[in-house]
């Protein structure tokens, strides 16, 4: 009997429920750890279990007849509450991976400053929002997830004003939109779109991102930013119902945001601010394709979402590792770090090139499809997006030279080689390169997911465009 037959005929395990509850319960266990080393070990164990459960959920959805792995709550309540389907399955996997690799790659000196319990609880909230099928549930968990960075800023006696302002605005606007959507689609869509713009950090709502990065721990920022949950809000809630004009406006907004972020990334002299604008640019590019509305654009965006999540996380973790060794990093001079941290230099290059969509990396395919879709729909926008991508490439290499070239430093204490970091970098590099060389499985799955959310008119428009 084939394994698949066994899985299909045997009672389904509640993978979704276990995946949500496991990190939540683990966060209590981690809270009572006697020191940060024990906390980190427990977090790694918990994250590994969550990743296994997420993988099992992915396999379960893949093998089930309707390609959905449902929560037990769905059966009890008779409503789609939580589920893993084609749309969110790879995102959940990538998110679980990021939440695993962040504590794995946390160096000993930084452990006391990073809240492992908060990380585990945050993982539960993010995963729950990503498996939620109801707009209200997505809004609820995304709202609660904002508390974790806020709490950290408070604990560090940092300024929470800017972050609070934006997150309160995001929560209020999002809830207003979600509540109005059933009865007033246009107004509800506009409000939800506004909430997405704030949470993603599209200018002029982006200052909270650089503020958070300058004040919170780098790990916390990565976990809050890189899964891009706002993109899920767009795909699950907005794209199926939003009017065309709104998607066009959002598309324009995202394109201008991408170019703006690219220009600012080039002139940065601080590593964290550089990462901030890199993130903003990637998030904007993901939204560009979503707002193109066509199935091709959605496919490109969903692919770009996966690649951006992985690549940004890899880049962020590499920069975090560099900071842990060499302190606050400036991009104003030439630091000469290549000889001290060659592995991190290689990790930086691979992740940065994946972010900008270099051929042979996972980011190339998604970007290429987004460019194609955008040029079809709005040629001027397409040209601006391509230019923005070129500028990001320049910014990435500029930052590389400023960090790793120059007279080698001779510190009195050599930074130790960390096997966990090397493992993390190798794992991310393998995903980014193998996914780039053989992207078709990912693209096919994203195309299938795009078909679920694309509107019928958009699908026929794609066929017209592509038939010479």
């Amino acid at each position: 009997m084939l394994i698949a037959d066994v899985l299909l005929t045997s009672p389904h395990l509640p993978f979704v429920d276990l995946m949500i509850l496991s990190p939540m319960v683990a966060s209590i266990w981690i809270m009572f750890a006697k020191n940060s080393s024990v906390a980190r070990r427990r977090t790694i164990v918990s994250s590994m279990i969550t990743l296994v459960l997420a993988s099992a959920g992915w396999i379960d959805h893949f093998l089930s007849s309707d390609h959905v792995s449902s929560s037990m709550l769905n059966e009890w309540l008779g409503l789609p509450i939580f589920a893993i389907d084609s749309l969110n399955s790879p995102v959940i996997l990538m998110t679980a991976l990021i939440y695993l690799m962040t504590p794995v790659m946390t160096v000993r000196t930084k452990m006391p400053r990073f809240s492992f319990a908060g990380s585990s609880f945050g993982e539960s909230l993010v995963l729950t929002s990503l498996v939620s099928m109801q707009p209200a549930l997505i809004a609820a968990f995304m709202s609660i997830a904002c508390l974790i960075p806020w709490y950290e800023l408070r604990a560090r006696r940092a300024s929470t004003r800017l972050f609070m302002m934006h997150m309160v605005a995001f929560i209020v606007v999002m809830w207003a939109g979600v509540l109005l959507l059933p009865t007033q689609v246009t107004l509800g869509s506009i409000l939800v779109a506004g909430a997405v713009a704030i949470r993603t950090g599209l200018p002029p709502f982006h200052l909270w991102v650089s503020d958070l990065l300058s004040q919170a721990t780098f790990g916390r920022c990565l976990l809050f930013l890189t899964p891009m949950p706002a993109a899920y809000l767009v795909t699950r809630v907005l794209v199926p119902v939003a009017p065309e004009f709104l998607l066009s406006i959002l598309g324009w907004h995202a394109v201008i945001a991408a170019f703006y972020a690219a220009g600012l990334a080039i002139v940065q002299t601080d590593v964290r601010r550089f990462f901030c604008y890199f993130y903003l640019g990637q998030a904007a590019i993901v939204l560009i394709g979503l707002e193109a509305g066509t199935q091709l654009g959605l496919t490109g965006s969903l692919s770009a979402w996966i690649s951006s999540t992985v690549a940004l996380s890899a880049l962020g973790l590499t920069l975090r590792a560099l900071e842990a060794r060499h302190g606050t990093l400036s991009l104003g001079g030439f630091q000469g770090l290549h000889h001290l941290s060659p592995a991190l230099a290689r990790g930086y290059l691979i992740s940065a090139f994946a972010c900008v969509g270099f051929p042979g990396t996972l980011g190339f395919v998604g970007m290429e499809i987004v460019f194609d879709a955008t040029l079809q729909s709005y040629p001027v926008l397409g040209i601006i997006v391509v230019l923005a991508s070129a500028l990001f490439g320049i910014a990435a290499v500029k930052a590389y030279f400023e960090l790793f070239s120059g007279k080698p430093r001779c510190p009195s204490v050599l930074p130790m080689h960390n096997r966990r970091e090397s493992l993390g970098i190798m794992l991310f590099a393998a995903i980014l390169i193998l996914g780039g060389v053989y992207p078709n499985p990912i693209i096919s799955s994203r195309s299938h997911a795009a078909k679920l959310i694309a509107r019928p008119g958009d699908q026929s428009a794609d066929k017209q465009h592509h038939h010479p």
Binding site: S159, G263, V267, L296, T328, R409
Partner: protein
Amino acid sequence: MIDSLLVGLMLFLVGSPLLMMTVIGARLFLGRPDSEDNVGRLVLATIAISLAAALAIAGTMLWVGHGRFEISLGNWIDIPAVHFHLAVKLQLDTLSLTFAIMSLVLCGVIGRFAIKYLHREPGYHRFFFLYAMFTFGLMLTTLAGTIETLFAGWELVGVSSAFLVAFFDTRIMPAINGLRVWTVYRLADAAFLIAAVTLHHMEGGGDFSALSGTGVWPTGTSELAGWSAFGVGLLIVIAAAGKSALIPFSGWLPRAMEGPTPSSAIFYGALSVHLGIFLLLRIEPIIDQSVALQVLLIVLGLSTALVAEISGRVQADLKSALSFASLVQVGIIVTEVGFGFRIIALIHIVSHAFFRTLQLLRAPSLLQDYSRLENAIGGRLSSPYSSWFHRLPGGWGRWLYRFGLERGRLDDWLDVLVVGPFLRFFRRIDQFEQRLLARSHEKNKSAVPVRPLSASHQANALPLSQNRLAEVSAEPSPATTNSRSV
């Protein structure tokens, strides 16, 4: 059976450099580089296999009388639902085979030279990884049958070139010049990408049959015409101008001398600088459809040759002089392409590539020979060359001399018109945002500043200018204090 033979040989032709890149790159990435001897053997073996395959293909095609042969390796991306696909196709014809054989011979020579030249150099493995990436990218570009395949190879050549310029990473100037090279490449590649996507959209695919027709090179008629041909052609001309250092992008070529001599030979003499012209020859049927494009190429070529001739006359070091001499020839070849002389242009490329590679590889030892001769005779050797500037009337000679010394001020004009305003604009925005952040922190008086705001109030000098360099040189090494925010 002949077709199967050609397919097999083609896989060796492209697969060998890919294998070289993968093996050297994987070991470098894992932090376990192989010995220099093994790397050298791998390099020579893979180049020899590729070259043998290329020669066998050429011989087979001549024997059978095939003028053109296309191999489809399937779809790299296939989305049937929206009829979107990116096909990987390789194309064998006179142009691609000639260029491939020339490239492999020169890569082999340069590789053999570099094995000894870079012996015990700290970045030995890094050099050969970049060299392998360059070779593979070059094979992919020259043999590409679709514009997307060509673009992938084009990008690999670009990134490896920029990092070879910045090879000596303990010094600042290679990094600055490498960044300049990368910037030009990246912006030119943006034009290429727009052309590729536009073509894909117009024709439903990126096959070169749409660009150059199904005829055998150098014959062929493009399916594009009118404004479509001009638009796509113009974008590709911009891409070619960036790669081949045509005006106004000529400034990067002398900067590339920062790299080691073998990489300089790759750039100036042989391969990288001719890649743009290769692309123009590939899209020649589109250029034929547009008189404006032909005129543009002729003007670009002649002006590049003129500026390079004047600049080359006043250079004080051998490598710079050779780089400008290369640029003169590149300008002339582009003019030939503009006039439609395809075969002449190809012959010119091949002969120029071999000659210039010889000159560049010989340059370091030539200087030593001159030095020994002059020591032996106790005086300077008379130069067979003399500048004709001093024969010009009035101040024209001095003006031309300054013009040449400043290399036509092309880089300065680009900085003044494009780079400077762009950087100033975004720096002002950045400073404005930082002020807003600072104000929001001030209002929260109970907060402790956890992390110092970035020092964007430094001098607003352009990062690539000389006064910025002076500041960087004068600055002490950055402090590596662990701030408590990290």
